[in-house]
Amino acid sequence: MAQKKKPALAPEPTPGGKVGVYVCHCGGNISDAVDVEQVCAQARRVPGVVVARDQMFMCSDPGQEMIIEDLKSGLVDRVVVASCSPSLHESTFRNALLRAGANPYVYEHANLREQVSWVHHGPEATAKATRLVAAAAAKAARLKPLEPIRVEVQPRALVIGGGVAGMKAALELAARGQAVVLVEKSPFLGGQVAQLQELAPEGETAAAVISELAGAVLGHPAVTVYTCAQVEGFEGYIGNFKLKVVRKPPLGATYADRLEKLSKSGQGLGEYVPFVGVMPATIPESPEDFDLEAGVVVLATGMRPYQPRPGEYAYKNFPEVVTLPEFIRLQAEAEGEGDTLMLHGRPIRGAALIHCVGSRQIPGIHAENEGGYLNEYCSRTCCAATLYAANLIRDRYPQTKIFDFYRDIRTYGRGQEELYTQAAASQVVFFRFEAGEEPQVLKNPDPQGPPLLVQVKDVLTFGEELEVPVDLVVLAVGQEPNNIAGLVQQMKIPIGADRFLQEVHPKLRPVEMSVAGILLAGTCQAPFDVGETCAAAGAAAVKAAAILARGFVELDPFVAEVDLSKCTGTGACVEACLADGALSLVDLEVAGQKVRRARVNPVMCLGCGACVAVCPENAINVQGWTLKQFESMVDLIVSDEYLEGA
């Protein structure tokens, strides 16, 4: 365009408001139904309106230039554009204001296309258009310039949890040049995956996965790892979390088994040991704590396998009943060769695998667990893991027969249905049971036979009762979230009915917690397999990376603001506030007198206005959406004063 010279800045808006109204024809879309010239003429009578112009396409360059000129010349200091829906062009015109050197928030949009010309016809269309423009002008006259809220971000991420999710998230952030502190409660990196051997369906080893991740984490200069460490103090908000981390020796014999296994292995610090993980540092002798500041926090606190109650499927009644993770370890440590699996010196000629142990529990059918809850969810990973184990046994020990008892086979993922097909091809025999008619595990009455007998009412055999004598029963236990009650309480974050951490929205904001700046990764959110955990960790990391890389968080200025000249400190707003920590009462001294006043933390404020409605003095308002603005809009909607012939 013509004027390349440094633009003169638009003058500061005056309190009274000099409103410019710009009405778009939209190439006939509006002007065919609405008399645009008449709207302009009537708009000029509205108090505060100093100019009203029309244009064929207000969004075109000439249209925008018209607005910019009026702002720069000082003719107007508030702008109303009456055109299509704000969803299409509100940002266009706010940018035009910016280009004019004006504040983009002294702008109001009137929707004359979607709300008028496309739905109404005849004179009433023009009358309605005028009322909408007048109402917009009334609001515009009361608009104030606003600045986006800028929060500086501490250039550091804290990752809680040293399993696959935590390590993956830490690595991704470090690779983007961010400083990461990783805090792990146990002395080991590797989490639950380190308790496995091969991973379904492709068969990568846990050793390879954990060695890769832990090696990279420990080798990366940007990642600081603290094991035996927990977060015990938490305050602040996005960009500025202040945490206290405590390192202390683990309680009693918590990790004695793993520590013993480690010492027997002869491996050193930083090396992977099966069923242990990677121990990066020695255990602290005495408690020590330190403060930490972080811009974002990634929760990767993981899961634990469901522990069956004694007697559930005869667990603990017979030594031959084990969980799948227990079996994986037994099998991995089994000695000897031959074509029959040997456990504890006994040949396993037949093994029963039972699905959905501790998962898909139904109220009224299944008994509640110790804590008085039911795991109503599917644990997602057990079907594939169980079939993988079945195939592995059939492959290595062809004389060990496998009987698989399921409710639904859920091999949903890539390469998983093949596990099911392969199990069938390897002569695994399947039985299907209904919820509430779970297989019974009994002592085999036949002393010559194997020790256990599994009875089932088999859906596949037309509901017949079948009996299978076996040497071993493996319970495919599900996943439960780790107990992180302490963190949940400190951070004030929500957990779902399933006791997993609850994201804001599974699709819109799937890795974010309701507390801004806290992200969640992996099985603390829901059961996942290793690949899915890494994807979830990547998704959490990318959100964290965006916050950290920018160095600041810019929030909409549409947040609550207290008018201290009106506030009497009733606290009603604090009571009504929906965002924990956004509003508080503070003690001030005014003219030597102690008074209480409401204070907004704009970083925490959602801008919903729940506080506005309850203030008896109307001393609190959402900037850009004040109650007075809305009231004046209603006044103009009901007024006939500026309508021609009215």
Binding site: V119, L627, F630
Partner: protein, 151 residues
């Protein structure tokens, strides 16, 4: 319709995340509805105090439809708080002899064009039937009409 058509203005509070785009979708579909409707774009209707609704009626607004996001609101807890407030507004409306059907709380999604039209039509019919706000106060308990005038 005819004479009753312009019985009074209807104010629509359309929440920005759902109902406002829903009204846009209705417009894109060129689905016609009463021109006596005025849409205020709001972030969350929980912002408005009880008095706002009463004031609207005393200013001459004949019907108000709150088109919220329902449970899908981006502000957790806002819908419940709003519903509680509207219950209180109903009490106040009754005290003033206002037919409580003049205020309606509903949820409209971004593509709920037919639900949008239905709500508008129902309110339009009701407003035609009831007339200007306060005209039903004659039949209301004594003092109610006076209370309304004092607003």
């Amino acid at each position: 319709m005819g004479a009753g058509k312009h019985a009074g203005k209807i104010l629509i509070l359309a929440e920005d995340a759902c109902a406002y785009p829903g009204a846009d979708a209705t417009g894109q579909g060129h689905m016609s509805y009463s021109a006596d409707t005025y849409i205020l774009r709001v972030k969350a209707s929980v912002l408005f105090p009880e008095q706002f609704y009463l004031d609207c009626f005393s200013k001459g607004i004949a019907g108000i439809i709150i088109m919220s996001c329902g449970a899908e609101t981006p502000y957790p807890g806002a819908y419940e708080a709003l519903a509680r407030r509207i219950d209180r507004v109903y009490v106040l409306m009754k005290e003033r002899g206002l037919d409580i059907r003049r205020l309606r709380l509903t949820a409209i999604c971004t593509v709920c064009t037919r639900a949008f039209l239905k709500e508008v039509q129902q309110m339009q019919d009701l407003v035609c039937q009831l007339g200007a706000p306060g005209s039903e106060a004659a039949a209301a308990p004594a003092g109610a009409a006076k209370a309304l005038q004092e607003q």
